[in-house]
Assembly symmetry: C2
Homo-oligomer: 448 residues x 2
């Protein structure tokens, strides 16, 4: 068992990657499939960003026996154990008591927490019941992690050369507590890196293997000091550059990343974790341009990608979701004869829809997505186009085009890939416009 480093390290020790992290997520609602296990996704990603790999996640029931058995096993093999849930006021919430017994801690009443709970109830005009005071009991040899968004505080214990972190279940309470209180404490003890462990370059419109081939000359020159990981997700690939042995300094890593960005050209989306829609939004805002969208098969997903960006009203003129030809004709002035002649799923329709969305909503740019994402009951070929056929139309101040794409896989995948392809096309056109380049003349549908 590697012992836990208690000295505050300034240089991230390479051992961070070898620290054994385990996450115990509690709750019947997870095992019954009522709630997705978002804590695994969140905590796994946050640890990864700071150079640690979560070794194991165990989801168990709320029963005292199950908690005791699992905690005993995990405590014997892990160095940092994080638990989520089971800290609330009801009789189901047994985690605190069970674990206190196992690690020989006494539970003591903390009047400061009592006051914070009472104040929270007063603030929201609710009546506090007596069982809420259960949450004011804390370990006698531990620290309290105050909860800014709820009543149950988190608990932090260092004992037997290990760290135990107990977090409340609601995501809006857990997530800020983890980022603001847990990450800095772990970093100060050398159990997480003090800054992000890797430089992430987001790319789009290029496959994983083509990306690797393109960047290989740069990787080769690093002579084994560089570690590279690729994470592909539905038309976008993230490339993560790191130096786990510390052989490359932060500055050297940034220099390698800059070389990659140079070589990638417009395939490069951004450094870090911003979404494609966010990057498009920045480009639109910088040039004070507005965007509108119209979609059929993606059913609102494209509009949502933009409305999720903070301050969307500044650049998002609006979106139209339609299934029927009526809606296209009424809202967007798409001529009926065009839809009848070419079909609603066609390049011509995509061009007319994008143009209509731009004109009706007074937007400089407009995206249209129309196609067959497939349904549970159909695998049909419609109008010569099999399921997975999508047409994207893009209206810009320089012209309007459409292209045909085709995706395999289930409905949900087809929808996300079409949205990402549409966002990526818009992004490339915005980059071209930003550089003052003329958009290459081409026939509708001739692109990519």
């Amino acid at each position: 068992m590697v012992s836990v480093h208690h000295t505050a390290g300034t240089t991230p020790p390479p051992s961070v990657a070898t620290v054994r992290y385990e996450l115990i997520t509690l709750g019947d609602e997870l095992l019954l499939g009522l709630t997705p296990n978002g804590h695994l996704t969140f905590i796994g990603a946050q640890l990864g960003r700071r150079g640690a790999l979560l070794q194991r996640n165990v989801t168990i029931t709320d029963e005292a026996d199950a908690i005791a058995a699992q905690f005993r096993e995990s405590w014997a093999r892990a160095e940092v154990i994080i638990t989520t849930g089971g800290l609330g006021p009801t009789c189901d919430d047994r985690t605190r008591e069970v674990i206190a017994g196992l690690i020989g801690q006494k539970l003591i009443f903390d009047p400061l927490i009592e006051r914070a709970i009472e104040e929270r109830f007063v603030k929201f005009g609710r009546k506090m019941t007596a069982n809420n005071l259960k949450q004011a009991y804390v370990f006698d040899r531990g620290e309290v992690l105050p909860n800014a968004h709820g009543t149950a505080p988190g608990l932090w214990v260092e004992q037997d050369g290990k760290v135990l972190i107990m977090l409340p279940g609601p995501p809006n309470e857990l997530q800020p507590m983890f980022l603001d209180q847990v990450v800095p404490r772990l970093a100060a003890r050398g159990l997480l890196q003090a800054r992000e462990a890797y430089v992430q370059l987001r790319t789009a419109g290029i496959g994983e293997s083509a990306l690797e081939t393109k960047l290989q000359p740069i990787f080769d020159r690093s002579g084994g000091k560089l570690s590279v990981a690729f994470c592909a997700h539905q038309g976008a690939v993230d490339c993560r550059l790191s130096s786990p042995t510390g052989a490359l300094s932060a500055g050297e890593l940034e220099a390698v990343a800059a070389e990659c960005v140079q070589l990638l050209g417009d395939d490069f989306v951004c450094s870090g974790h911003d979404s494609l829609a966010h990057v498009c939004a920045e480009l639109l805002r910088a040039r004070e341009k507005r965007l509108s969208v119209v979609e059929t098969a993606t059913g609102g997903l494209l509009a949502q990608a933009f409305t999720e960006v903070c301050g969307a009203c500044k650049f998002f003129a609006g979106g139209v979701v339609c299934c029927s030809n009526d809606a296209k004709m009424q809202l967007l002035d798409v001529p009926e004869c065009l839809l009848l002649q070419h079909g609603a799923v066609s390049e011509e329709a995509a061009v007319a829809m994008a143009t209509g969305a731009s004109e009706t909503l007074g937007a400089d740019y407009a995206i249209a997505v129309t196609g067959f994402a497939g349904a549970a009951e159909t695998g049909a070929v419609t109008n010569g186009n099999p399921v997975g056929t999508m047409f994207i139309g893009l209206f810009t101040p320089a012209g309007v085009w459409a292209k045909k794409l085709s995706y395999p896989g289930p409905r949900s995948t087809i929808k996300i890939r079409a949205v990402n392809a549409a966002l990526d096309w818009l992004r490339r056109e915005l980059l071209r416009a930003q550089r003052g380049e003329a958009t290459p003349t081409r026939r509708s549908g001739a692109m990519q």
Copy 2:
């Protein structure tokens, strides 16, 4: 250790609830937070429907040592072990080899699987690489679960009084395999109930404790033979009635459920698992009515709820997603003076938007949602309305109304609750119209 029942039982044995199920989900992408653990959600829910509670889910890395250590521990304590992932063609896919070694199975080459893999590559016009044939190796004393949607078949082993089920990682391959092949086999061995273990009554617009109080007289009469569980999710509560001891027959359980439905009135949404949008869609289709929506703060979620329903074109006339007043005025003919006088987040605006959405899109019914769902950077009070204030407008053939709602919590919760409230209001109006009842006269905003 309870031994596994190999006899095909016709009556569901009460012991199903005591069978120890464990799920091992493999993959660094889960532990790094790149992919949510959807297998837990899906398999947990499916087992729960057939009377079994998944006891534990363990997520581990793809490393051979980690797989071996975890499998050994789980095999010693569980009766049914399900693994997901690690059956693919690459060198990362070690699950088959590692587990074969641990349970003393030989891997043998199956030419039938080879042919199925080859045919699949031909069908999709792709070139097969040699490593794909790794997927044609199966246990010498086990069964193969054919994969209708991919190359890696599932594996089924009964040994040492236990069942081992190994499933491929992609959800669109795993899910049909689990429903079509795994569930019937488990049921035939008495490890799952042959039919749904509970009757689920979906309700909306009534809180969990109010629901319990309302139904308590019926529960009391069952004299302890009935088990009741409530599952609350964002404005909707499911009530699950079961008889784990078998004291109530299926018919008696249905009779209790029918009594509950009677007492619940319009708070009852449906029996089973249909979504609120699906129930609204059925009501609209039955009366050949069409619906349109317009939304600001929910940014496309409401339109998505309807476009996710199969055959949405039959009843969904279209949706508009807007942030700016311009879009409301241009697309929906909402008068500018109204927006200026009352604000875009007001009952008046909600009424005008719903009316505009109905008229412009030629729909019989229309829902409008406008409000402040909050953003990461703001907690501001706008125009006297704090974050969480939502106005819903409902246009029907009988009139148009709006109501004000207020939700606490994070942005994502506020959005889902507003969508559910809007769907529930529409559903109630459709029920009233179906019964030919006059909608009660009331002032805008006076409802609920």
